[in-house]
Symmetry: C2
Subunit: 159 residues, 2 copies
DNA sequence: CGATAATAGCTGCCGAAGCAGTTATTGCTG
DNA sequence: CAGCAATAACTGCTTCGGCAGCTATTATCG
């Protein structure tokens, strides 16, 4: 961008990408958590299961990074999911420090129950969007995420 | 949308609006929190101050709703901000149950220090965006938020 | 106008997240 | 290959968010 989009003097929260993303995120939680709770899952537990299922993160380390979750907290969360028989932990053979998290049949079954409800909700939220608009939203969000990752990789020092 | 965008059988986390919004939100926090911490603010404290400054929420009730924060937790957070002299609480005269939250001069000063840093970061993240792309992202995010609010207002029952 | 319901904010309690430190394993460097 | 740094997962402690209950005030409805 040749010129900066925002300026400190005129910055207003309502038109800030950050604010809008936070607000959208909060509303998504408000909508999905009650639904998931009815099936005995917190949103974080659901997020862990889905991340494993779709290969976004296959071990605790990546789950922490991708879900922005504390390492200690994740250990205990996996303890729960494991004791409920939804996931299994296996020590990796290539790197014996690491652990591989797998969905059990029960874990996959739980997701098969819950995913349609989630999908319905999201579709319902998108009911006034054209197909092209959703595509564009996804593209821009991905671009935003890449930009953020780039910034963070740059070390977090002042630009 | 005449046809549903997502389908349970083919649903993949990576292309889900929900996932992308959550990821963008998490990365934004990763980027902003260290910056704010250097100035003695948590992100939530910053969000409260900004919400009051920009008239998004002027009392604890609206702050809870807009920031999706627990009422009890917010009371204690406001206690802190008040004891540090960044905000003031005044009982409303129209409704004596309610409280009006105001920024003090010190609160405004703190924001004047911090806002430019936040703005720089956001601009830096948006550096590969055209002006039109940011406009479109803001429009779509606002539309998404409206859709979510509509769903929630509809009562949260199954669609 | 009186009684009951609803609302705003606060408090206590509990569970989950964040932080620091530990152990086991691997990578790096001389 | 020896020694030290880095990494992955886990544990204990602290802090913060979520929940239920309480008080004061306002709205509702007979």
């Amino acid at each position: 961008m040749s010129k900066q989009y925002y300026h400190a003097e005129t910055y207003d929260t309502r038109s800030s990408v950050g604010y809008l993303v936070k607000r959208a995120h909060g509303l998504a939680l408000d909508m999905l958590e009650p639904e998931l709770a009815r099936h005995g899952l917190t949103f974080t537990q659901y997020a862990v299961l889905m991340s494993v299922r779709d290969g976004i993160a296959l071990n605790p380390k990546d789950l922490c990074i991708q879900l922005r979750h504390d390492s200690g907290a994740l250990t205990r969360l996996l303890d729960q999911l494991e004791s409920r028989g939804l996931v299994e932990r296996h020590r990796s053979v290539e790197d014996r420090r690491a652990i591989e998290v797998h969905l059990t049949a029960a874990g996959e079954e739980a997701l098969r129950t819950v995913i349609p409800l989630v999908v319905n909700r999201i579709n319902s939220v998108l009911k006034d969007f054209s197909h092209a608009e959703v595509d564009e939203l996804l593209r821009l969000l991905n671009k935003l995420i890449l930009g953020w990752q780039g910034e963070l990789a740059a070390g977090g020092q002042q630009s």
